[in-house]
Amino acid sequence: MNIPLSWYLILAASLFCIGLYGVLSRRNAIAILLGVELMLNAVNINLVAFWRYLDPAQMGGQVFAIIVFAVAAAEVAVGLALIISVYRSRKSVVADDIDLMKW
């Protein structure tokens, strides 16, 4: 195991930024959620890497990774449900079109 920690971290940072770019630039709401998934995975990589590199006896990193899974699952479920619901009523999944709540 001679991979330096910084590799993981830089990889996670890159993944995070790619996800961020996706969230900011895509028009399709589902694509935005895809970006979010990427960002969550980037975070998970960090959590697991720190667990492994700092103190494998402390299970906090892994536990939080699992909780992130749960949150991601919940987020996707609800998010997609919302999108489908909106789609049904407005026939659109473009995030910019969903602006009912602006002033």
Partner: protein, 711 residues
């Protein structure tokens, strides 16, 4: 016993008002019965009083505590002394006669009127006799029961006044009679004139009454009691006579004057005489008689009662200020009223002014200290004036009968509508003649002669020349107008068809006339002076002895002098014959030389008072007190304060609250926020990624800043 005297009439009053109002016969039975009871009681008291030696010192008296006043109490009670007994005698008789007379006068037994309404005199009823012929006859008074109730209350007041042992209950009786006179004058309240006369009577007498009330208050505070016995104790009187009061009067004189003003009102003396003639607007001679012949006597009675007080600082010669005033008012009224009486055509008005004049005699007599003479004249006058009033009532009643019978619309009270009644109404004529002669002072035979002569003799004997001459002239005028009245009414030929069909009145009316006529003659004999030629000494001068005993110092018997006697005989006979000669042939008012406007209009006193007092009072009341002072000034000040408050509120609102607080702070902040919001809301585009971009830019910017500045 004495306590009970005023009660039967009072009970009758309440019973009639509350229970028997609808039952006419029962009501008058109650009324007359109550009067008879009181009469009986009075006679018993009177007879028992006669049986007491030196009654003046052993008067009947009984008292109770009435009001607690601090540590002490105000006592009231009853007292019959010689004066009281003498007055009680005539009061009981006249009141009983009035009750009896009223039954006939108010047409008891006659049918109810066709169109009679309460509050107006009866207009007559149509009856159909056996032959099917229609007649108009007199109708019964619609408020028959009420009349007896009022009479009862009146009798109660009069008895209360007479039996009082103190000024307070005397005043109570006095005022109750005032109320009754108001009610009786306004008995036919539907007539505007009667209504106004009632108010006038009450108000005029009330002017006197408030002064009297002050006098009573003064007396009470000065002596601590109102009981005659306490007040007239020698020590008290002396103290009162030596205490100076106001305007140079002694306390006794000032109190006497205050009470005398009350008497001026009640006894209709100048200048408060105006109500009495108007009181003849009252429905009947009966009620007129009540307050003219009986009630006004109460005034003189009050002065008689207060005589010791009034004369407390009188040394025997040189009248005190109070006495001078009394003497002046009395004698002035006597002649003043007599001048008016000669020009009146209403049979009742003549008598009314005659009453004023005669009361003036008594007041004048008291003013010069002639106590017994005044008392004597009071009683004889009460009898013969009652007789005259009842007689005139009988005349009017007869005339009304004639007027209804013939259907002629004439004033049954106008002397110039009468004439020749002596044949139609013989009893009325003879009794009226006796009364008239007594009023004129027809020598020797009549009671009026003895009493009037005594007053004149007193004035002469004590050298009050002005009083003597004035009264003598007044006596002449009295004889004159009396004869004028008798001549116009009873002699000659009937002037109208109504007079020709006049009819004698029923026995309930003539009986009282006869009884009173007896007294009008006989009572004089009780007071024939001892030194009178021939007659003097035949009958003892009982009256002088008895009534004089009321005073602590028995009044001395006057030296006999022929001059006043001649004078009084002269004026009486002269007046009578002059009146007969002047009016023997007079048929119409035009032929009457004495219809002078100034006399006919009573020296314009009504008009003057109206101008001087009534209207200013109304103006002060309506315009000044209410509209000006209360509504304009006081309410104006209040409204001013309110307006000030409103103004202040307006200032706060318009110049502070609205511009500063509301607009500047309130609306200003609001507007600012609103404008800012309006500006800022443009960046709220509602697009998710836009927000994320923006927040990220800020985050990055902060991170860069953080790094550059802090790291």
């Amino acid at each position: 016993m004495i306590w009970l005297l005023p009660l039967p009439p009072l009970l009758a009053f309440f019973l009639i008002v509350l229970v028997t109002n609808k039952k006419k016969a029962l009501s008058h039975t109650l009324g007359v019965g109550a009067a008879a009871l009181s009469w009986l009681g009075s006679m018993i008291v009177f007879v028992r009083a006669l049986g007491v030696e030196h009654f003046g010192e052993h008067a009947f008296e009984s008292v109770v505590d009435w009001l607690p006043t601090g540590e002490t109490a105000l006592q009231i009670g009853v007292r019959i002394d010689p004066l009281g007994a003498a007055v009680l005698f005539f009061v009981a008789w006249t009141i009983l006669m009035i009750f009896l007379y009223s039954v006939g006068y108010q047409n008891f037994g006659q049918p109810a009127g066709d169109h009679d309404v309460k509050g107006l005199p009866p207009h007559g009823a149509t009856v159909t006799d056996n032959m099917g012929k229609k007649h108009t006859v007199m109708s019964i008074e619609p408020m028959y029961s009420r009349f007896f109730a009022f009479l009862g209350l009146f009798a109660c007041g009069m008895y209360t006044l007479v039996v009082s042992n103190n000024l307070l209950t005397l005043f109570v009786g006095w005022e109750i009679m005032g109320l009754c006179s108001y009610l009786l004058i306004g008995f036919w309240y539907g007539k505007k004139s009667a209504r106004d006369a009632a108010v006038k009577a009450f108000m005029t007498t009330r002017i006197g009454d408030v002064f009297m009330l002050l006098g009573i208050a003064f007396l009470y505070s000065a002596t601590g009691s109102l009981s005659f016995e306490v007040i007239f104790a020698e020590g008290t009187l002396h103290a009162l006579a030596t205490t100076p009061a106001f305007f140079g009067f002694s306390a006794a004189g000032f109190i006497g004057l205050l009470i005398f003003i009350g008497v001026v009102g009640k006894s209709a003396q100048w200048p408060l005489h105006v109500w009495l003639p108007d009181a003849m607007e009252g429905p009947t001679p009966v009620s007129a008689m009540i307050h003219a012949a009986t009630m006004v006597s109460a005034g003189v009675y009050a002065v008689l009662r207060m005589f010791p007080l009034i004369t407390a600082d009188f040394s025997g010669h040189g009248l005190t200020m109070t006495m001078s005033i009394i003497a002046f008012i009395g004698s002035f009224t006597a002649i003043f009223a007599a001048t008016i009486a000669v020009a009146q055509n209403d049979i009742k008005r003549v008598l009314a002014y005659s009453t004023v004049s005669q009361l003036g005699f008594m007041i004048a007599a008291l003013g010069i200290g002639a106590y017994v003479a005044a008392a004597f004249h009071l009683i004889t006058h009460a009898f013969f004036k009652a007789l005259l009033f009842l007689g005139s009532g009988s005349v009017i009643h007869g005339m009304e009968h004639g007027a209804l019978h013939t259907g002629e619309h004439v004033d049954p009270q106008d002397l110039f509508n009468m004439g020749g009644l002596r044949k139609k109404m013989p009893v009325t004529f003879w009794t009226f003649l006796i009364g008239g002669l007594a009023l004129s002072g027809f020598p020797v035979l009549t009671a009026g002669f003895w009493s009037k002569d005594e007053i004149l003799a007193d004035a002469f004997g004590h050298g009050h020349w002005v009083v003597f001459i004035t009264l003598a002239v007044a006596a002449f005028l009295t004889a004159f107008y009396t004869m004028r009245q008798i001549t116009l009414a009873f002699f000659g030929e009937p002037r109208t068809r109504a007079a020709a069909h006049a009819q004698e009145t029923p026995w309930t009316m003539t009986l009282p006339l006869v009884v009173l006529a007896t007294f009008a003659i006989g009572y004089g004999w009780t007071g024939i002076p001892e030194h009178f030629p021939i007659l003097g000494g035949l009958i003892p001068n009982w009256f002088h002895e008895f009534v004089g005993g009321t005073l602590a110092v028995h009044p001395e018997v006057l030296e006999f002098s022929i001059w006043p006697l001649l004078a009084s005989i002269g004026v009486a006979l002269g007046g009578l014959s002059f009146g007969w000669l002047a009016y023997r042939k007079v048929r119409t008012p035009r032929q009457d030389r004495l219809q002078i406007p100034v006399l006919k209009n009573k020296w314009y006193f009504d008009e003057a008072y109206d101008f001087l007092f009534v209207r200013p009072a109304a103006w002060i009341a309506e315009q000044f007190s209410y509209l000006f002072m209360d509504r304009t000034i006081i309410d104006g000040i209040l409204h001013g304060i309110a307006r000030g408050a409103l103004f202040l509120g307006g200032v706060f609102r318009n110049y502070i609250d609205k511009p500063v607080i509301n607009e500047f702070f309130g609306d200003g902040t609001g507007n600012l926020v609103k404008r800012a919001g309006a500006g800022l809301r443009k960046i709220q585009v509602g697009r998710l990624q836009y927000y994320m971009l923006a927040s990220l830019i800020v985050l990055v910017a902060f991170a860069v800043l953080y790094y550059l500045l802090l790291a």
